[in-house]
Symmetry: C2
């Protein structure tokens, strides 16, 4: 960032009084601009033995398959965010959602909050951010065409353990951009 | 916000193309400024049958007791954030942390992520944001002097159930500013 959101003057990176890390601080009015991680809320939505996946119509990972998920918005709960994303990406109505996993990605300052629920209706269709959507049985999942490591990990955990436990892990990314999984619980 | 963080020109609230809600968009360069919820990471840290609490030296709720907790920073995991806050507020070294609860507060666009762990050392002392810190037995907890409903709720859940389950709830706030708890799991 270059300019103050409050007064429009230039900002500088400095450590504010009573703080311990650099922030963008306005050179004119002193306003401190905090930057914090974003939550990505998503869901494993099932219809009997099938799992809802969406083929991405947007970058990054255009054309790859993902679980419905997206940035949490202000003034909603984590579960509302996951249900909203399912509706936006797959016109899918989620039943009650339970927490399935929390996955930190400090290298991109994101936290994935994944839920599990049953589809309240079998009718799903591609939303604006999806090329197509589908309900996949275990042996139909396109493992080599998944968009993100967290999607791969969530699907494997669900197929191995089912719902009922909350999984906790974090991902690191090395200088070779290879992503590594670290399981906590 | 009034000005663009990228070019310093005025911003207007409008719905960007391919979006469905109002954002602050730059009138000059078109940059879209997203605003999203913040995570507050904290911990119930125990030493045998005692729980660490901190008396706040900052507003809001100056002088009230709280669990160590604070805003998650970029480039850290949720558990690292909780451990860092314990160190900053109480000079407390946390042992391994397990997820204890996730509590959405949509009225202030915050998500509390509470952990449980044992203190790795009995030495604790007030950090910069605390007037004092203490280790409280069940019957010593200052229930009438707690800072926030989420602290009250977390302590009650821990004393009733112990650790081992991940609790999921959200809080609403009515026009009378009364906060109401909604338990999900």
């Amino acid at each position: 960032m270059n300019y103050c959101s409050q007064c429009g003057a230039p900002v500088s990176l400095k450590i504010p009084v009573d703080d311990n890390r650099e922030r963008y601080v306005c050179d004119h009015c002193g306003y401190v601009h905090y930057q914090n991680p974003n939550n990505v809320c998503g869901a494993i939505l099932t219809l009997e033995d099938r799992i809802l996946l969406c083929k991405r119509a947007i970058e990054p990972r255009y054309g790859k398959w993902t679980l419905p998920a997206g940035f949490m918005e202000n003034n909603e709960t984590v579960a509302e965010a996951a249900a909203r994303e399912a509706m936006e990406e797959a016109n899918a109505r989620a039943g009650p959602l339970t927490l399935f996993g929390i996955f930190s990605m400090p290298y991109i300052s994101q936290v994935y909050l994944m839920f599990h629920g049953e589809l309240a209706s079998p009718e799903v269709s591609a939303g604006q951010e999806s090329l197509e959507v589908g309900l996949f049985r275990r042996d139909e999942i396109p493992w080599d065409e998944l968009a993100f490591p967290v999607v791969d990990h969530s699907l494997r955990l669900y197929l191995e353990h089912g719902a009922g436990k909350v999984h906790h892990a974090w991902f690191s990314r090395g200088p070779d951009r290879q992503v590594e999984l670290h399981i906590i619980d």
